[in-house]
C-alpha cells in the first residue's frame, strides 16, 4: 500500500507520541512487578519506586498458593472456549449465509444477551447448576461460559463470515458442496485468525473471573483467580504484605496469558484486522 503521499510533518513526532502513550499504557505491568517484589511497608513508603531489596519470597508464597489451581483453570478455559467458538461459528454461518424463517428474530434473541448484566444471573445460575448436579464440577462453569460467550462471538463472527468472498461459496455450491462441507472446508479455515482473536479475549475473561467460580467450585477445586483472591490472610488480622503477595500472584497468573498473546499475537491482530468487525 502506498502511503508516501500522506503528509505527516515528521514521523518522529508520531513515534514520540506513540512511545509515550505505549509506556503509560503498559506502566501498570511495571508497577505490578515492582510492588510484587516489595513488602507492604515499602509500598506504603514509596509506591512508585524500584524494589531495591527484592523480596523474591513473595513469589514463592504466591506460586505455592496458586499452583494447585492451574490445572483446574486450564481445563475450564480450554473446554469452554473451544465449545464456545464451535457453537458460535456454526450460528454465525447460519445467520450470515442461510435464509430461514425467524432469522432476524433469532439474531436479536442472541444479541439481547449482550445487554443482560452478568450479576443478574449469578444466583439463578448457581441454583440451576445445583439442580443439574453440576456444582463442584468444572461443568458447572463450562456450560454457563459457553452460553455466556455466544452473544459476542456470534455478533463478531456473523460480520466476519458475511464479509467473506461470496464467489468462494458460489463456486463451491456449483461443485455441489453442501453447507456442512462449505462450512468445514471453506468457512472454518478462513475464520481461524478471528477465532483466535475471540478465543484469546474469552480466555482472558474466564481466566480472571472469580465470583462465579468461587460459588460453583467451592473452596476445594479453586481456579487461579479464586486462589488469588483467597490468597489474603483472613481479613480480621490483615498482613502488611497481603497486597504485595497478591500482586505477585497476579503477576504469575498473567504469565501464561502473556505467553499466549506473544505466541498468537500475529493471528490475534490479523483476526481483528481481516475481520471487518462492523455492522
Amino acid at each position: 500500500m502506498v502511503r508516501t503521499g500522506v503528509s505527516w510533518r515528521s514521523q518522529w513526532w508520531t513515534h514520540g507520541v506513540l512511545s509515550i502513550l505505549g509506556f503509560v499504557t503498559l506502566y501498570p505491568i511495571i508497577f505490578m512487578v515492582f510492588n510484587a517484589l516489595k513488602n507492604g511497608i515499602e509500598t506504603a513508603a514509596s509506591p512508585f519506586s524500584f524494589p531495591i531489596h527484592p523480596h523474591w519470597n513473595n513469589f514463592v508464597l504466591a506460586f505455592q498458593a496458586i499452583l494447585p489451581a492451574f490445572w483446574q483453570s486450564i481445563i475450564v478455559v480450554i473446554v469452554s472456549v473451544s465449545f464456545m467458538l464451535v457453537f458460535s461459528l456454526l450460528s454465525a454461518y447460519a445467520f450470515a449465509w442461510l435464509q430461514f424463517p425467524g432469522r432476524e428474530l433469532l439474531f436479536y434473541v442472541v444479541f439481547a444477551l449482550l445487554l443482560i448484566p452478568g450479576i443478574l444471573t449469578l444466583i439463578p445460575l448457581f441454583i440451576e447448576d445445583k439442580n443439574f448436579g453440576l456444582l463442584r464440577t468444572p461443568w458447572g462453569l463450562i456450560f454457563p461460559y459457553i452460553a455466556g460467550g455466544q452473544a459476542f462471538c456470534i455478533f463478531v463472527l456473523r460480520a466476519f463470515v458475511r464479509n467473506l468472498q461470496e464467489d468462494l461459496f458460489g463456486a463451491a455450491r456449483i461443485d455441489g458442496a453442501g453447507d456442512i462441507r462449505i462450512f468445514s472446508l471453506i468457512v472454518a479455515p478462513l475464520c481461524v485468525p478471528i477465532l483466535i482473536t475471540l478465543g484469546l479475549l474469552n480466555v482472558v475473561g474466564i481466566w480472571g473471573d472469580y465470583v462465579f467460580p468461587q460459588l460453583v467450585l467451592g473452596t476445594q477445586h479453586e481456579t487461579v483467580a479464586v486462589a488469588i483472591t483467597n490468597f489474603i490472610p483472613p481479613p480480621i488480622a490483615p498482613s502488611l504484605d497481603a497486597f504485595n503477595l497478591q500482586l505477585a500472584a497476579f503477576t504469575l497468573s498473567a504469565i501464561p496469558i502473556a505467553l499466549l498473546f506473544f505466541l498468537l499475537m500475529r493471528y490475534f491482530i490479523q483476526g481483528i484486522t481481516d475481520g471487518g468487525i462492523k455492522m
Binding site: T219, N230, P233, I236, P238, L240
Partner: protein, 498 residues
C-alpha cells in the same frame, strides 16, 4: 467481595495492652477434663466446617508474614474423630464463611457447610436470612455432655456474647466465644522526636499532640473514619447513663442495646437527630481530629476495601505516621514490619468528658465492639445444607459444636491465634491479654447510631460521616441526611420485624 471482617467493632480498653507480641506466644496448655459419659452417635460421615480465622493451616503450607500457623481446631477434630470412628471433620478454606453473600448463595443452593462462621450482626439483622442457621436456643438450655458436670450449655457462655447474639425473635443463631480489642497505638520514637514524652490523657491533649507532631513535620496519625467506632465511643457517652439504661429497657431481657432498642429510642425521640441535639453533637469533635490526621487514609471512600494498600495500619507500621487506632492484631504487624518493639506504645481513648457541653462522665472506652471476633459458629438448617437432612447428622454436628465449644477448646483455639480473648467461663486468656478480661464484666452500653439496624444504613451512614469529616458537606446538611437515612432504616426495620 471480601467481607470487612469485624465490621470494625473492636474494644477499647481501660488498660493499655501489654505489647507482649501475643502472636508469637505458645498455646497455653490445658488439661483436658475427660467427660464422664459420651453420648452415642449413630450417624457416620463427614462434617464440613468453614472455620474462618481459626481454620487449621494445611500441613506444609507456608504462612504469610504476620499470620500464625493454626493447629488447635485440628487437634480438637482429631480427638472427636477418635471418640467417634466413622466421623470425619473436614475444614474448608480460611475464606469460607463470614461473607454474608457467600453464605446466602451457598444456602440458596442447599450447599452450605455444616458449621460455619458469621458475624452476629449479619445473622440477627437478616442479611443472612433467618432459616439458614439453626436456632440453638433450645440446646443452650440442655447440658453440654463434653463438659463434665455441665447442666446447661449456655451457662458458661459469656453474658455479653449471649446478649449480642440474640436475634430480635429471641433465637440464638450462633455460639459466640471470643472478644476482640482495639486501642490507639503510637510510635514512641516519633513522639520523642516531636518532644512529646507521654501519650495523651484527654481529647484536648490528643488534638494538641497531633498539632505538635504536625508542626515537627510528622504525620500525626492515620485512620479511616469508621462511623461505628466513633459512634459507640461518643454517642454512648453523650447520651449518658440514665438514657442508656432507658434504651436498654426497651427490649426486656436483653442486656445489650439492640437495634430494636434503638428503633424504639428513635420513636420516642431520644435517638432522633432532629429532636435531640446530643445525637449529633459529637460529629464536629471527631472532625477536628481528622483535620490533623492523614488525609490520604481518611479520604479513601471504600468501606469494604477488598484491596487497598493505603491503610492506617500500613502507614503506621511503615513508621510514616505517629498514631493509628486499630485492633489488637497491630502489635503482630509491628513486628512483621520490622519495627523496634520498644517503640510501640498504646493508649486508650483519651477522656472525652470535656469535649462538649453534652459530654457526660460515662466511660465509654469499653463500648467499641468486643464479642465480634472469629469464634462465632453456626449450624446449617436442612434447607441451607441438604446433607443435614440425613437422619442423625444434626445430632453429630451439634455434638461436634458442643465438643469444640468447651471452655478448654475455646481457650486452645482462641489463644493460638493470639488476637482475641476466649470468653467462656473457665477459659483463660493469654497472659499478654489478661488485663482485658475486666472489660467483660463492665457495664456495656454501645450505641451504634443505627448502623447496626441494616447493612444499607451502615453503608450510607459511613459514607455520610466520611463526607462530613473530610469537610465536603456542612453540619446542617449532614444532619438532614442522617435524619433521612435513620428514618428509612427504622421504617424498614419495623416492617421486617413486625
Amino acid at each position: 467481595m471480601k467481607s470487612h471482617g469485624l465490621r470494625n467493632k473492636g474494644a477499647l480498653w481501660m488498660t493499655a495492652l501489654s505489647l507482649g507480641l501475643s502472636a508469637v506466644l505458645p498455646v497455653v496448655s490445658v488439661n483436658a477434663a475427660s467427660p464422664p459419659t459420651v453420648p452415642k452417635l449413630a450417624w457416620k460421615g463427614t462434617i464440613t466446617m468453614g472455620a474462618w480465622v481459626f481454620t487449621p493451616t494445611a500441613p506444609g503450607q507456608k504462612v504469610a508474614p504476620g499470620t500464625v500457623r493454626q493447629t488447635a481446631l485440628l487437634t480438637l477434630a482429631n480427638e472427636f474423630e477418635k471418640m467417634y470412628p466413622g466421623i470425619h471433620i473436614k475444614f474448608l478454606s480460611p475464606n469460607y464463611g463470614n461473607d454474608p453473600n457467600f453464605i446466602r448463595t451457598e444456602a440458596a443452593a442447599g450447599q452450605l457447610a455444616d458449621v460455619w462462621d458469621a458475624q452476629y450482626a449479619d445473622l440477627n439483622s437478616g442479611v443472612i436470612p433467618h432459616g439458614i442457621a439453626v436456632n440453638l436456643a433450645p440446646y443452650f438450655k440442655k447440658s453440654n455432655p463434653y463438659v463434665s458436670g455441665n447442666k446447661e450449655w449456655g451457662s458458661y457462655m459469656s453474658p455479653l456474647g449471649l446478649a449480642v447474639s440474640q436475634a430480635p425473635n429471641g433465637a440464638y443463631y450462633e455460639i459466640n466465644g471470643d472478644y476482640i480489642a482495639t486501642a490507639f497505638y503510637y510510635n514512641k520514637a516519633l513522639f520523642k522526636k516531636a518532644g512529646i514524652s507521654k501519650p495523651p490523657v484527654t481529647w484536648a491533649q490528643l488534638l494538641s499532640d497531633s498539632r505538635i507532631l504536625k508542626a515537627h513535620g510528622i504525620d500525626p496519625g492515620a485512620h479511616r473514619p469508621y462511623w461505628s467506632w466513633w459512634s459507640r465511643l461518643f454517642l454512648s457517652n453523650f447520651l449518658g447513663i440514665p438514657t442508656l439504661k432507658q434504651l436498654l429497657s426497651f427490649q426486656p431481657g436483653n442486656p445489650s442495646i439492640t437495634p430494636q432498642d434503638e428503633v424504639v429510642g428513635y420513636q420516642k425521640g431520644i435517638l432522633n437527630p432532629l429532636k435531640n441535639p446530643r445525637v449529633m453533637a459529637w460529629w464536629p469533635v471527631v472532625k477536628e481530629l481528622y483535620q490533623y490526621w492523614d488525609k490520604n487514609v481518611s479520604a479513601v471512600p471504600v468501606l469494604n476495601a477488598p484491596t487497598s494498600a493505603v491503610t492506617g495500619s500500613t502507614l503506621f507500621n511503615a513508621g510514616k505516621v505517629a498514631m493509628t487506632y486499630s485492633g489488637s492484631w497491630e502489635p503482630g504487624l509491628w513486628v512483621a514490619g520490622k519495627q523496634k518493639p520498644a517503640n510501640l506504645g498504646a493508649f486508650n481513648l483519651p477522656s472525652i468528658a470535656n469535649t462538649s457541653r453534652y459530654a457526660t462522665t460515662y466511660d465509654s472506652t469499653t463500648t467499641v465492639g468486643g464479642p465480634s471476633g472469629g469464634f462465632q459458629y453456626s449450624i446449617s438448617t436442612p434447607q441451607a445444607d441438604q446433607t443435614m437432612s440425613q437422619p442423625g447428622k444434626f445430632q453429630a454436628v451439634l455434638d461436634w459444636l458442643r465438643f469444640m465449644s468447651s471452655p478448654r477448646a475455646d481457650q486452645m483455639v482462641v489463644n493460638q491465634w493470639g488476637v482475641t480473648i476466649p470468653t467462656f467461663k473457665g477459659s483463660h486468656p493469654l497472659p499478654a491479654l489478661r488485663s482485658l478480661t475486666s472489660a467483660l464484666s463492665k457495664p456495656w452500653y454501645p450505641v451504634f447510631g443505627f448502623s447496626d439496624v441494616s447493612v444499607s444504613a451502615h453503608t450510607q451512614i459511613f459514607k455520610l460521616f466520611q463526607e462530613y469529616i473530610n469537610g465536603f458537606i456542612s453540619f446542617a446538611s449532614a444532619k438532614q441526611q442522617y435524619a433521612q437515612i435513620v428514618q428509612q432504616a427504622v421504617q424498614q426495620y419495623s416492617a421486617q420485624n413486625h
